[in-house]
Amino acid sequence: MQTELMECEDRRISLSRPSDMRNSTNFHWSFRADLKEVRETLRRVAECFSHQITADESGTLELVLAEVMNNIVEHGFAGLAAGTITVSITREPESLRCQVIDQGRPMPGLKLPDCKIRPVANCIGELAEGGWGWGLIGALTDDLAYRRSAATNYVCFAVPVLAR
């Protein structure tokens, strides 16, 4: 993975071409850490798995990946030159096993944030306007894990899907 990222520099590269992925059970893609590129990547993921999973599962996968990747763009690379995010998804019989890799800042404390969805404030003026991301990720995934190694962040999780 290290070698691929080094070769990648700042350009988006296709490590396996999208046309080859349509009927494949795996997805692998590197892209510039940018909110518009996250959108495009989510579109490609949906296209790749649309024939294998239900619309509900596809919605869950899209939401979880969006939260993980948007966090990397907005926090991991905040104040840094744009870097690269790599997402790999492997189809297993009852899950989609996902790994998201970046070389932005480490997670604070080198661990995952609290992944509980916080209670709702009692009055409108005190309602939070964000902070649900990791709660949603925690609620919708299994085996959520983070590690930092060789200046690289690895977030791994599984999205449950109906057995084929």
């Binding site: 959108r39 509900d56 899209e62 939401l63 969006a66 939260e67 948007n70 409108i124 949603l136 609620a139």
Partner: protein, 112 residues
């Protein structure tokens, strides 16, 4: 950011003509809702029936719009698609917004 508004009885209905309210457009969405609710009305109803995806940033923008309208006006939601409804349920934001199955009028095409 494609939103349109329409006066229906005592409400301003804002139709969201976007498939996504996400991190990439959350700020523009919030600003545009403010512009469209400048005219007084008792109620503001956000027609979400064309929106297929809302992430936590998009949800934050909707909550922010609701707080901006409070305390005089309540932001109501209508036509949540399945994926969007799930985000509101998981975050328990479905307890904060009045949610209608459908917007009061289907769009006529004359909205501006």
């Amino acid at each position: 950011m494609n939103l349109s508004s329409q006066a229906v009885d005592d409400a301003i209905v804002i139709h969201v003509h976007e498939k996504r309210i996400d991190a990439a457009i959350a700020i523009q969405f919030k600003d545009r809702v403010r512009e469209l609710t400048n005219d007084p009305s008792e109620r503001v109803i956000l027609d979400m029936s064309q929106v297929e995806f809302v992430d936590s940033s998009g949800l934050g923008a909707i909550v922010s719009a609701m707080k901006f309208l409070a305390p005089d006006r309540r932001l109501e939601l209508a036509g949540l698609t399945a994926n969007v409804g799930k985000v509101f349920r998981l975050t328990r934001m479905d307890s904060v917004f009045p949610i209608h199955a459908k917007p009061p009028f289907q769009e006529t095409g004359n909205a501006n």
